[in-house]
Every structure is written in C-alpha cells, then in structure tokens.
Symmetry: D2
Subunit: 361 residues, 4 copies
C-alpha cells in the first residue's frame, strides 16, 4: 500500500495503450506530429477558448517555465509560503526566471486570502527602484494542504493581482482533482476566473509523465518555444507526450481518474473521522488526507510497508498543532487506490490508535 | 520514408515492452525505484568502472546539465564551431552554466584537431582576469558531420585539455553508432580516453526518451541531484526512465540497434556512390549520409514524401562545396530503416540525377 | 537639513584630499596600483589577520558579490526579513548568486535571534533534493532598524550557522557606526565572532564611493577576481578606490567620522525623548533615529525642506505600532551633521508636536 | 612613460575640480541630484535628440547592461570576434543578459564588413527554435585595432541589422577619439547612423570613472533603472558621476582631451614610420599605435620602465603577421601624453632597431 504520493502509481491503462499505439511508424520530431496536434486541439476544446499549449514531462518544468514567461529577473512572484514552487522545486522558478524573488504569503490551510495578498502587494510598489517589481501571483489548485479555492475565490485574487499589474499563474498539478471536487468547468476554474497561465498536470492523475503549460493570453507565450527548448524540455519524440495528453482528455478520462482518487480519499477521511484519538489538519477536499494522531502510527505503518510522508506545516491552525507525542501524516490516494487498500490502511490505524490508548491506560 | 533524423522513429519494441512491464503496481518516485537501480547497475557494468549516472528525458538536458556541472558562469566551454550544443540547443548550456561562453573551434568534417585545440586554449590563459576561464571541452561522438573520433584521437584531445585544467565532456547522442563503428569497448571510447562526463544517448537509437549523464569522476557529480531537480529534469515516475535504459543495455540491444542504423546508412552511401553527379560531403562513418547533388533532388524527394534536411556547413572541404545549382542534404538512418526504404530512396535519387543530367544535355 | 540618509553627504575632506593627491601621474589600471596596495595593507592590519580584500564602488555590489561567492544557485541565503539585501537591492544577490533564494527571518528590532535562526535552518535540511541548500547567513551590522548585535550575539548566530554548514556574511554598510557604538575591535566584531566575509562599507561614513569585500577565509575568495570583473565592478582607475580606503582607515579617520554621526543621532534621540507625543520605534544605537509621532510632522518637515523618509516595518513591537493619525519616520545623521542642524530639526518637531496637540484640543 | 593604456592616466584637472566642487553640502542620493540632471541635459543637447541616459562607473558595466537591455537570454549578440565585450570583460554581457550567446565575426583591422555581417545573420534565422535568436549587433568605435568606422559604414551595418530585427549597440569606450578623428557630430556617428544604444565612455578620456549608457529609443530603456540597480551600478553619491560627465561635456572638454590623445598617437605613428625594421599592424586612426618590430624592443622598453602591452590578433592581414623574431606591441596615448614622452619613446625604439639591425649584420 503506497499512500506517499499519487505519483507512486504508474500510468492509467488507457494512457499506456495510447503510448503503445503512437509508436508505429515515423513521425516529425519536436512536437510537429499529429498526436501533439490532437492534444492541442483537445485542450483548446476543453477550455472553450483559443489557447496556446506546450507539453513537457515534469510539473517542475511546467511551473518554472510558466513563471519564467511572466516574470523578469527583477520581478517578484507571490505565492503561498508553503507552495510547491517555493519549497519543493529546488529553486527551479528562480532558474527559469533568471533570478526572480519568490515572496511567500502565509495563510491557513495553504490558501492565500485577499487581505494577505493586498498587504503583500503593498510592500512591493511598482516603480520603486530598490525593490523587485510585482510580476506574478501563483495559486496552487489544489493547495499543498489538499484544500481548494472556489472559482469565486480565484476570481477575487486574480482581480486584486491584475489591479496591481500582476499576472496570475495556476499550479494545477492536481487541477483535475480540484475541478471534480468543485464540479465546475475547466474554463470557470481558470481563465474565466482570471488565470493567465495554467500548469495543467496529468502525471499525478494517470499520465506517465506529461504536463501542459496553457497560455490564455497568447501574447505571453511569444517566446515560450525558445524558453522550453533552452530548458531542455522539448522532447524529440514529442508524439509520446501528445498521445498521453490526448488520451487523458478525450472521453473525459481525466475526470474519471480524478473522481476515483478523490473518492478513495473521501473514504479514507470518513474512516479516520470515526477513529478516536485522530483529527484531520485540514478538510479533505481532494485526494490528500492529513491525519494527526499518536506517534505510534509511524512505526506501525512503516512495519506494514505502507508508504506515506510525515508532514509539517505553518499553515495549520494553532489549536490543531501536533503535540510532542503525536505524528502528522500525509496520505495521498491515486486513481488506482482501491477500497481494499483504504480499508486495509484504516484497519492498521484503528488497531494502532486502540493500542496506543490501551498502552496509555 | 523519413530520413530527416533518427528521432523520427518511435521506440524499439523491446523498450516499449519494458515500459509496459514497468507500469504495474506502485513504485517510489523520483528515481528511487528498482528499475532505475537496475539501469544504474547496468551502466556501471557496461563501463567497467564505478560511475554515477543520472537519467533524464532529453539530450539537450543531458548536455547542458553535464556542462553546467563542469563550468562556472565565468568559464569557457570549447567545442567544434558547429557542435550541437553550440548551434542547436537554443543556448541551453548557457542557461545551465549560468552564462558560460561557448568557444567554437573550426575543423573539417566536424572534428577538432589537437593543433586547433591548442591554439584555442592559448587564447584563454588561466588566471587572466579579463578573460573567461578555460573550463570544459565538449567532443561530439559521432560529430554533426556523421564522422567519428578514434579512441586515440579522443585520448589526445583529452590529454591536451587536462593539461590545461579543462574537463572533458562527450556529447554521446550517437554514442552507440560511434561505438559499433569503432568496434571498441564503451570504456575505451570514454573514460579510458580521458572523458570525465558522458551524455549517453539512447533516444536517437531506440528509446522513447531517455538519456544518461554519466560521471566518471564522482566528485564532479557532487551537486548534480540539485542541478537536475532545479532544471525540472527529475521525473516523478522515474521508473519509466529506468526501464528504458535497462532494456536498452541489457542483452546488448543498444549495439544491435546501432548496428542496424549504421548498416542502413552504409547501404545508402554505397548506393549513392554509384550514382553519377553525386558526391558525399564526408565519409559515412555512422548512420548519417550527406550527399551533394543536383538541386532537382529537393523537389523530387519532397514530391515523394521523403523526410530529409537541407544542410549547410563550414566544416566542408572547399573543393567539395556545393555550387549554386546543387543541393546539400542530410539523410539519417535509424534502427528501423529497412533495406527497402534505402533502395526506394536510391531509386528516386537515381532517377532524379539521370533526369537532371538529361535536362542539361 | 537632510536627514534622509547618511549618503546625502559628500566625501569627508580628508578623503577628497586623498583622491586629489592620487591623481598625479600614471598608475597601473584595475587595482594593480600602489594606493590599492596601501589600502589592502591597511585593512589587513586593521583586522589583525591576513585577509583578502576587494574594493568596489557600491554597497549593493559588495553585498551581492560577497553572497554570490558563498552560495550556489541552488542555495538559500538566510537574512532578516527586512534586510537591505532582501528589500532594497532589487534582487542583486539573486543576480550574482545565479538565482539563490533569500529566506527572510522575522525578528523585532531588525535582529535575528538564535531561536529563529534554528527554526529556519530546520526547514532546510541539507541534502533534501527538492529544497534549496542552506548556504549563507547574512547579518546586518548595524541593522535596518538602527540596532546592533553584540559580538557575543554575532558569535552565537555564527556558531549555529557554521554548525549547519552555513557560511556567515556581514553587511557592514554601517560597520563603523556599530563598531564605535560597541567599543570593540574590528576583529572582535567580525572574524573572531565567526564572520567569514564582510562587506566593509565606507561610503555612508564619508567616502565618495568605496566599499571593501573582505574574505577572512581566503579559499572562499578563489574566484572573486572573476566574479567582480564579470559584474563590471573592477574599476579601471582603481587607484581612486585605493586612495579612498587608505585615507578612510589610516589615522583612524573612519572611527572619528562614525563617532560624529553617532553623537549627532544621540543628541537627536535625546532631544526627541523630551518631546511629548513622540516615541522611538527602537533604541538609538548608531546614527539612525526612528520617531513615531503626529502625522502633522510630515508636512511640517517637508515645508521646511528637511530630508527624511517615512518608514514602515514588521520588526516593530506591536505596542509601538503607529496609529492612523501618526507618522513613522527615519532620520539619519552623517559625519557632517552639525549640532545646529540637530537642534533646528528638534525645534521644528517640538513646534509641530505642540501645535499638533493644540490642534486636537 | 606609460603607453599601456589610456586608463593609466588619472582624471583631467577640470574634471577633478568639478568633483571637488560637487562635494559641498548634501544632495539627494542615487542620481536624483542636480549634477546628474545637468549631465543628462548636456548629453541630450550634445546628441541633438531626446535621449535617456544612465551614468555608471565602469565601461564593462555600461556595455554589459546596455546589451542586457537589448537581448533576451536566448538571444545572439553579434560583434567582432576580438571585440572587448567578447574577449575582455570576463563574460559580463553573458551575466547581464541572462546567458545570451556572443557570436564573433572575423574582420581585418577589427572591423565588421557588411558581407560578413550578412553571412553571419544568415546562420541565425529568426524563429528557428533550436537556435538562439538574433538580438543585437555591437560595434566598437574605435575598434580594438585602433581603427574607426565612418558614419556611412556604421549606417550600412545598422541598416542590415535593423532589417533582421536586430538592435544596434555601440561600444564607445573611445567614442571621443573616434569622433574627433572623423570630424562629424555625435548624432551623425550614433543615432543618425542607426545606433540604438550607446556606451558613451569618458573614463579613458579623462574622467575618474564615469560612463553613460544612452538610449536613443526610449522604450528600450523601460527597465533599465532596475537592471542598473540590480547590477549594483547605481551609485549612492551619484552627484560625483553627474559632476564628472557634466564637466566632461560642457565647454567641449571631451573633444579637447581626445584631440590631444589622437595627436600624440599621430606623432608617435609618424615617428615610427621613419624607423627601418618597423611596420604598423593597422593605420593609426585614433590614439592607439600597433608597431611590429624586432623582439629586442620588448626587453629594451621594459628596461626603461615604459608601460605597454604585447599584442596578438587574428584581425591582422596575413602579410603583416609578426615573424618568430618579431614583437607586436600596443602603445596607447592619453590626453596627458606629452610630446616629450612620445619623443622619448621614439628614441628608445630607434636605438633598439638600429642595434637590432647592427646585431644581425
């Protein structure tokens, strides 16, 4: 049982089949193939708007290159202080922007509030020579805390950002999970809510390795072919990216897969809610569950070979903070997490919590 | 028929099978999986020496990250003036080195001579503050002209470079084709000949998208995990890279595939040699053939849907330079180029050359 | 009357004389002159230790180049969240480090506490591939709040940093003011307290434009000549930097000048302390005074042509935070601020505060 | 006697006086002072066109920042293969452009010909993704060979560049020397001939350390205040730059100084022409003289304490190349080189050449 991350799963069968099918014959290199064209068309249709999209094989590249297209080296990129782009990409946005400054904004549950955004923007007046210039806001949907912004919340933050001349990027590594949870359209959750550029993730949700950077303002994409190539992210056999993305979207596979992952997480969260001595750090809105409970959970899960991460966060409400004798875990479900696996995990946790209490009694 | 590049082919069947086989179950992310370990072990055994290897999905990334590990921002990277790293990667080595200077060295047939290397190094004395500092030599094996260095030639150049405190990188995008042509061991063509870091390409020779950067001097790899991650080149589902590389090496598949591509090019070159009005720009040593002939070839091949590139080069002996009424072509064979395709291409060329002469008579 | 900054003053007369004296005859360019040698020797003697020093003309360059010598592009630079390097240099440290990440640490009065440093370092475990690597701690002495660290405080922070493999830089733009206030030796306030690299400022304290980067660990300076040259900070007529720095140090001029500025600020702070309706944000430890008082101060001072800045800070104790009807000012004294100027300023403030109260009554 | 470089001289007396005069009283920092305003106005008047100018203290910074404003990181900067920006600034243009590629163009006498420029541009088609994008042409006026372009030659090259969408920069480290030699107006030699951005040097011609970057297309300067600040090149006591530049221009001092340097070089060249066994590598068009003569010159000049550089160049006509037993020297005159110094140098050379011949007889 592996709840460490959704990227511990392989590719969804349909996507693997699409890769295999794309293998026959020769095809033009570097994305000039028919599979990539199909993916581009499918993305355009999905988002109900002419857009320019670029495929690549990692989410780090998608985020960092997208931000690099929005930000000069002397720019500021605003994001949640625990955003993946700030904490987990080894400075990739700094590399691809030529050294921009990421400005972390605190916020409970991994979310930026309009008030916090306004206060932060106020510290970076445009034209103040000694300061870096406000350039981009990056919103993670879903967030690092497994929470989501509503379309209205996104629109509010985008309006504030645009009012300050700041472009808005969405890190959609788990875009599908958030979308299915909200039940809105891709357009509503992106450009209709003010998103300028979207990192549209597929890897965590069943692709082998495929992400799209989608520009809704085409002029911001003017130099992106060079930026992607220069970053080493233009795959020569691009048909395999195109095939993955087309299969991911066509027939709604991506929603199906995300629905499965979210439901598994819901089942897990519901199960955990019934176990005494456990609490959740944040509500389970997509496919990530963050229980806080007895430290004995850690060795118990390890002993049973369960994959998971111990977690820390400054985005936790003080009242919920783990005590010294408690563990804080992240458990992630993927498109292939089965009910049996969830139930198996719950059984271990139940036993452990019961035992933990017993041991203390 | 597609002779545009060896990357117009898909993946070799065995490699595709390995990808499919690697898909079942969960696996640790970011290269901590058993497939990647198998690939690492296979590479170590192949090169008969403890080495550190890193997998990624593009050759641009492999070259640029490898060079970035050898060169400070104020360094000089020496390479042939038409090297792929200089002309065809949109400045990727500059990005990953923080702005190093690539210094092109002219040389017939795409090769650097010891004399030219010495003269160039003399222009960059170490410690001269106003000049960039000599840092790395990059040799392309095979070269952009489809020629190869012998192991002795590599050793001579490496000795000169090392004598100047300059590390030696090999761009081995077509390492397999060169190796099969030379008939030597991977060790002989790399570290035994003084190569410090190797971009070991698999994509052009039958992988879906997989290259290894191999450090023979382990200390030069000290920061490479950070450099690769920061570049967005650490794939989350790393098992698929590991599976490709393991399948590529195990059982000698890589030699088999390269042998096929080289033989197809030999058949093509031999066939072209018998056609009057044609000459080859350079000897056919691997899987690339560079004919110069009547301009009518271009529309004739286009009309028949043959993929190819028109070429230009400053590495051509003056006596061979194309006249105004001539075309200079690059034709590349891959592991799946069939005899029938080669013969079909030859038939078109023959017809065209005969017609061309007729038209002039 | 200009209390905007100590850099509103020109050069101290002795320094100007030294510049004039250095003008006669020819001299080797780029710092190979005798004036630069004299400065280097004077700095070495002053710090009681063989050190390598580099002169340049701005503090931004000194800080950013020094940090660039300590930090790889994938490194983290820890500093107070309102440090000059973070807020006021338009991303210069990011440029010269190749895109490192500055990590702001909050702290009252502009100072980093050992506890805050430890907590921050804990978030950046060495070797965690997804995170930037802990590289440098930068301490501002004096701080942006006009406060100073004791030598013991510096030593404590350095010990923590070194324990984490993190080098320690001091932004000494106001090194002289802090030193005179502490009454210790330059060595005690720098390398004996664990400082590895010092930006030794002279410009704010009477030079025309001259700063030294001093490496106490000579091996960290290995590439600095290239880094400075590449940054455009190696002056061709370097003798004029050497002459400034030599004149600044020789005969203790630098202490004399700093003593004057500090005394002027003390007089100003003492005067303000006696005015009802005013409070100081932080204690006046060097040459900067931060009064909080009625908003009417702003137009009153402007009307009289007094130079000053309105201020904001997150390093203020909550109880002291300015109310809506209050102004928060920064007033800086220089080596040439006279008692008469201080008294003139105090008279305006007194009148205004009296008037302000009157207006409200 | 120092003929090593024109930067071996100090500041011209009038410029030093202006610095001293600017020292009294306080002044706004960072270039908001009246001296800087005067310099800006004087530059505008001099160039007969509204322009935006920025002062800084080194020529390396002026060139590299100017090029950084014209070139994206994936851009190509075209220049003579021995241009100062390519060979003598330790990669500064690469730093400030974020890693652009400098493309050297060969050319006798340090000059780029229209034909060579066209051929080089043809190798960098705009929009070719794998190639860096043509961005800027940099012309050195005077060149590294002490030769100059006529206004017509500049206009021809600019027209070709602009036709390819390439902006044109002039490295005018010796702008004054070239202008005086041509006898045209500053406008004719710059924007009327198509120059977009000019590095207007004053340091080599009598300033203490002051250069201006002048944008004739104001929109290209949009971000320059940030680029200069981020580079550490915005001096706090900016009045001293303003005072230098104003004094340099006002009253035509700059022409006077350059005229002196050129005349000294003319006297030197004429004297050398009369000495048997010597030849000049290139015509003496400004203040640099490049004799080739017996190797004995080197020890003879060293023994007499004469400052000079031994030279090498690929821009030399083959027929003039120095033989094994010959030395190739660069001798530079400054505004303060006296006739007596020139004559003294000539005497040494004459004696040496006579002796050299004698020794051989």
């Amino acid at each position: 049982m592996n709840f460490a991350s959704d990227n511990a799963s392989g590719a969804a069968p349909s996507i693997l089949e699409a890769i295999v099918a794309a293998n026959s014959g020769t095809a033009p290199a570097y994305g000039a193939d028919s599979y990539s064209a199909r993916a581009e068309a499918a993305l355009g249709e999905l988002f109900e708007r002419p857009a320019v999209s670029f495929l690549m094989s990692t989410g780090t590249a998608a985020n960092a290159l997208a931000l690099g297209a929005l930000t000069p080296p002397w720019g500021a990129i605003f994001c949640h202080e625990e955003a993946h782009i700030h904490d987990d990409e080894c400075g990739a946005p700094e590399l691809f922007s030529g050294g921009a400054k990421l400005v972390g904004i605190p916020g409970e549950g991994g979310k930026i509030t309009p008030q916090a955004l306004r206060e932060t923007l106020a510290r970076f007046p445009r034209g103040l020579v000694k300061g870096v210039q406000p350039a981009a806001l990056s919103l993670s949907q879903a967030t690092e805390a497994g929470t989501i912004y509503s379309s209205d919340e996104i629109a509010d933050l985008s309006t504030i950002a645009h009012g300050a001349g700041v472009a808005v990027h969405m890190d959609g590594a788990r875009f599908a999970n958030a979308l299915v949870a909200l039940g809105c359209s891709p357009a509503q959750m992106s450009w209709r809510a003010g998103i300028d550029v979207l990192s549209f993730g597929a890897t965590k949700n069943g692709a082998m390795g495929c992400e799209a950077v989608i520009f809704f303002n085409v002029e911001q994409a003017a130099d992106f072919v060079f930026q992607r190539k220069r970053g080493g992210h233009t795959l020569s056999k691009g048909r395999f990216l195109g095939a993955q993305m087309a299969a991911y979207i066509e027939g709604g596979l991506w929603r199906t897969l995300a629905g499965r992952a979210n439901r598994a997480a819901r089942r897990l969260a519901d199960g955990l809610a019934g176990i005494s001595g456990l609490r959740l750090a944040w509500p389970t809105e997509v496919n990530e569950v963050f229980p806080i409970g007895p430290r004995a959970l850690v060795p118990a899960l390890r002993a049973r070979g369960v994959g998971f991460y111990e977690w820390t966060s400054r985005a936790l409400a003080p009242a919920l903070a783990p005590r010294e004798d408690e563990a804080f875990l992240r458990l992630v479900c993927s498109f292939e997490t089965s009910d049996a696996e969830v139930d198996g995990l719950l059984a271990i946790v139940r036993e452990c919590c019961a035992g933990g209490r017993g041991a203390k009694d």
